[in-house]
C-alpha cells in the first residue's frame, strides 16, 4: 500500500516538477550556506558573534598556558600559594566577561525565539501564510497543500513528493509528522530544522526572502537510505506560485480516487497551541530584510 501511494505521488510530482530538475543553489567555500530566509540573519549574526568571542577566549587561554610553560619552566622557582587575592580578582574579571557575553547571547536568542522562531500563533492567523502538511517516511518527504477550499484531506489537495514550493515573501508554516521513524526536516539555507515524530504533529515556519531552489535534507538518522532523503524547496514569484497551485490542484482533482484511502493521509490543520500567554506580533519581514542587508554590508 505504501508503494502504491509513493508511486502515485511520485508520478504527480514528476509531472509537475519539470522546473525542479534544475540544479539547486550551491554553496562556495567553507562557511554558512547562502542565506535565503528573511530571519536567517538573526542566527547568522549570533553565530558570527560567538565565533569571535570564543576565538578571543580560546586565544587568551592558549597564550596564558604557553607563557606559563615558557616563562615558568623547570628553572623558575615555584611561587608557593594555595590562592591569592590577585589571582581571584583575575578569575572574577574573566568570569564576569564570560557571563556578560553569555548573557548577551542569551538575551538575543530569547528575543528571537519568542518573536520569531517559536512564535507560531501570528503566522497561523496570517491569511497570507502558506500552510503545508509534511508527512515524512522512509525515505522521502510528502507535502500536502490544502488547495482552493483551504481544507486539508479533500480532493483538491495538492500532494507532492520531495518537492515543496512557496511564494517569495510570505511566511510558510509546516505541520510535520512521520509515518514510521523519526526524521528531521532541515532547511540549511533557512537555518532551521524540526523533527518529524510519529504520533506527533510538530510546527516549523520560515520566511523566504529570495526566489530560487534550495535543498531540504533529513537531519535525523532514519535507516539505510537516510542520506538519500532529499527534497527541493522552490521559492517562486507570487504569480508563478499561484499558477502552479491552481494547475496542480485541478490535476489532483481529476486524478482523485476516493477508494485509495492510503493517499488520504492528510489531517485537519491542528493550529499550534499558544503556550506562553500573549504572543508578540511578528517583526516585519521588510525591516528584517533591511537589517539583514545592513549586516551583509559588514555593519
Amino acid at each position: 500500500m505504501r508503494r502504491l501511494q509513493s508511486l502515485w505521488t511520485a508520478a504527480l510530482a514528476l509531472g509537475l516538477s519539470a522546473r525542479a530538475l534544475a540544479e539547486p543553489v550551491t554553496a562556495k567555500g567553507l562557511g554558512l550556506p547562502p542565506d535565503a530566509s528573511a530571519d536567517g540573519y538573526r542566527i547568522d549574526e549570533l553565530i558570527h558573534e560567538t565565533v569571535i568571542f570564543i576565538a578571543v577566549m580560546f586565544g587568551i587561554m592558549v597564550v596564558w598556558m604557553l607563557l606559563a610553560a615558557i616563562l615558568h619552566g623547570r628553572k623558575h622557582e615555584a611561587f608557593y600559594t594555595h590562592v591569592t587575592r590577585r589571582g581571584q580578582i583575575v578569575s572574577l574579571v574573566v568570569i564576569g566577561v564570560l557571563v556578560a557575553a553569555d548573557a548577551d547571547l542569551y538575551i538575543d536568542t530569547m528575543r528571537d525565539m519568542s518573536e520569531v522562531f517559536w512564535n507560531f500563533a501570528p503566522v497561523d492567523a496570517d491569511p497570507n501564510a502558506i500552510k503545508i502538511e509534511i508527512d515524512a517516511h522512509q525515505w522521502a518527504w510528502s507535502a500536502r497543500y490544502a488547495g482552493p477550499d483551504g481544507k486539508f484531506n479533500t480532493p483538491d489537495d495538492v500532494v507532492t513528493l520531495n518537492d515543496i514550493r512557496a511564494p517569495v515573501g510570505a511566511p510558510v508554516i509546516f505541520e510535520i509528522t512521520s509515518t514510521d521513524v523519526i526524521h528531521s526536516l532541515y532547511f540549511p539555507n533557512f537555518r532551521v530544522k524540526m523533527d518529524a515524530m510519529p504520533g506527533m504533529v510538530n510546527h516549523l515556519w520560515l520566511r523566504p526572502k529570495e526566489t530560487g531552489e534550495y535543498e531540504v535534507g533529513c537531519a535525523q538518522h532514519c535507516g539505510i537510505n537516510h542520506y538519500k532523503m532529499r527534497a527541493l524547496f522552490t521559492v517562486l514569484p507570487e504569480a508563478d506560485y499561484q499558477r502552479w497551485l491552481r494547475e496542480a490542484s485541478a490535476n489532483a482533482e481529476r486524478a482523485y480516487d476516493p477508494a485509495d484511502t492510503v493517499a488520504h493521509w492528510g489531517w485537519d490543520w491542528t493550529n499550534p497551541r499558544p503556550i506562553e500567554g500573549d504572543q508578540p506580533p511578528l517583526p516585519k519581514a521588510a525591516t528584517a530584510r533591511a537589517a539583514g542587508a545592513a549586516h551583509e554590508e559588514g555593519i
Binding site: R74, A78, Q88, I95, D102
Partner: protein, 589 residues
Amino acid sequence: MDIQPIHPPPTSFWRRYVFSTDHKYIAKQFLWAGLIFLALGGSLAMMIRWQWAYPGQPMPIYGSLFLRKSGGIITPALYPSIFTMHGLIMIFFAITPILIGAFGNLTIPLMIGARDMAFPTLNMLSFWTFLVSQALMIAAFFVKMGAASAGWTTYPPLSDSIGTPGWGQTLAVMAIFVTGVATIMGGINYITTVIRCRAPGMTWGRLPLTVWGMWLTAILNVLFVPVLGSGGLLLLLDRLFGTQFFIAGASAVNGGGDPLVFQHLFWIFGHPEVYILILPAWGIMCDLLSFFSRKPSYFYKGSVGAMVAVTLLSAIVYGHHMYVTGMAPLLGKGFMTFTVMISVPAEVLFLNWLQTMWKGSIRLETPMLWTMGTVFVFGLGGLTGLFLAIVSMDLYLHDTMFVVGHFHLTMAAASFMASMAGIYFWFPKMFGRQLNQTLGKIHFWFSMIFIPLVFGGQLLAGYSGQQRRLFDPYQYTFLRHLQPLNQWTSYFAFILGAAQLVFVYNFVVSVFAGKKASDNPWEVGTLDWDTPSPPPYHNFDVVPHVQRGPHELGDPAVKKALGRDWIGQWEEMPGEKSGQAAPKLAEAH
C-alpha cells in the same frame, strides 16, 4: 575510621590472576579490556572517515580484511552499523572502563590510604559483568543482518524490531543494560569506599582532586545509569515481547506508545554521562597540573565546589539535546537557562588550572604534556558547546557535523587525552616499570596536532551545513564542495590513528621489559606514592596518618627542612612533632 585488617594474598592461580578481588589487579583488567575496545572503536572510526572521503570506493587494507564479501566497499546497509558500534564501543566499552574502571579502581584506595575497596567481591563481580557486556557487543558483529545500526542513541521507532530487525540491535541494547549493572556495582563501591575507608586524618578537604572527581562520577553513575537501564529494558520488551512503549505511527496498533519518552529517559542519563566521562578527567587534570607545576592546586575549594556544582546541574540540562523535537518553548528556554549556567563552574575550573600553572616550575614530563593537551582540546570543545546551548543557533547546527566535532572534542578527545595522562602517570605504580618517555612524547605530539585538526574539520563541515551520519554527503548539491575538506580531515584521522601504534608498541614492550620504576618517580606527595611500585597486595604495611593536603609542593619551609620541594601527605615536618608550630598537625587529629 574503621580498622582495616591485612588479608594474606590468595595463593591459587584462579583467585590471583583471574577472579582477583585486588583492586589494583582489577584496575589492570579494566585497562586491558578498555584499551582493546579502544583499538576496535578506533578502527571503526577509520572506516567512517574513509567513507566520507571516498564514498563507494573499496577501502584499502580493511577492505581485503573485513569487507571481502562486498569487494572492499562499505555498503549503505553496513555503514549505519559502523557508526553505531563505534559510538557505543567508545563510550561504554572503552573510555568508561579506562577512565572509571581502571583509574577509579587504582587510585581510590591508594590515594585515600585504604587496603582495598569497601566491597572487594562486588568489585570483582563488576569487572566480570562488564566483560559479559563486552562479549555481547562482540557477538552483535557476528549475527545475521549485522550489528546494531540505529545510532548510539538508539532512538525508537528506528531501534524497534520493525525499524531495525535482527539480533544485532537486541544484543547491543542488552550489552548496554548489562554494562549498566556493572557500572552501578562499581559506583556503589566507589562511593562507599571514599566515605568509609579513608585513612586517619584524610579529611574531605585533603582528598586528592582525582578522588573527588571519581567520587562525584560514581554518584552520577548510581543515580542515572538506572534511568538508562529502564529505558533499555522497555526497549528490549518492545523488541522481543511485542509491547509498544515507544512505538507510534504506522507500526503501532492499539494506540501505541510515545517515542519521545525514550529520548527523555535516554538524555536524563545521557547528559550526566558527558560529565561522568569528564569529571574523573577533571580531577586527574587538577592533580597533575599541580604536581608538574610544582605548586599547590590553585583554589582547591573552588575546584571541589565547581565539580559539585556541575554534578548537581548536570541533571537538569539534558533537554538541550531535544530542542528540535517539538519541545514546548517554555521547557526549551528553561533547559537553555540551566545549560548556560553550567558554563560558570566549568570556567572556574579552567581558571584554576591556568592559575595553577602560572608562576610554577613546570616540568614538561609526558603526563604533563598530555594534561596540557587536555586543557587545550577541552577548551575548544567546551567553547563550541555555546553554539549548541543557545536555542536559535542550535536550530541550524543541531544534528550536523558541528555537534559531532563538539562532543568528540569534549567527550572523546578530552577523555582520551586525560586517560593517556593517567596511563603515563600511574604506569609505574601499576606495573612497576616506566613507559618510554621519548616514545610517549612522540605519541603526544602526533595526537596533539592531529586531534584538533580532525575534530576541527568536523566542526567546519557542520558549520557549512553537513548533517551527521550521512553515508554519502555528496548526494546533496550544497555539500559537494565539502569533499576536499572531508578528505583532508580523513587524512589527518588516518595519521592520528597510525600514531596510536606508537603507544601500543610502547605499552606492550614496557609492561614486560620497561625500565624499573622507583617508588615515587614524579616526586609527589599523595598516598599512592607512599607505597612500593607496584604496591603489595595490602597496599600499606602501616596505614598512614594523613598530615596535610595533597598538593604540598614548592613550600619554602619544607625545602629548608627536608631539602626537597615536596612533602608527603603522610609525612610529619621535622619539628612539628615536638609541638612547636604544629597547626597542621593539630588539624589532622
